[in-house]
Symmetry: C2
């Protein structure tokens, strides 16, 4: 199974990397850019055939290692 | 309009960050993890109402700043 995980800074948290990229885009002439937020995207191959096992595993991995729940939120989808 | 951009290391390129996370997950007991690849996810708010303008803008931004075309590939979707 394959998991696709997105980890983003929470809306209430400053995103300095996003701000820096926004300013860089503006200085390159991209004036239509209003806001940029940057997070991580992970593709994880899993050695299990069971959807529920995969879901629980990914959720645990996100909470223990892949995200910082204080400042980030995550979402994921799992496909066979 | 809102653009959601995913930037990933190309399949042919080593992904040391992904390898490190895979090993970290294994040492935490996640033995079902076969492979991890890590990239970036960007959410960009755009000040334009035209889909074609938005698409061209995001494509240019990806090529000029948001990705390194030598080692990364990108994809994006745009929603009103």
């Amino acid at each position: 199974m394959k998991a696709r995980i997105t980890v983003m800074p929470k809306r209430t948290v400053l995103d300095p990397q996003g701000k820096a990229v926004k300013h860089a885009l503006e200085s390159l002439g991209f004036r239509e850019v209003r806001d940029v937020r940057i997070g991580k995207f992970l593709e994880v191959d899993l050695d299990t055939g069971d959807m529920e096992t995969a879901r629980r595993l990914v959720d645990n991995a996100c909470q223990q290692l892949l995200s910082n729940p204080v400042i980030e939120e995550y979402r994921f989808e799992i496909t066979p």
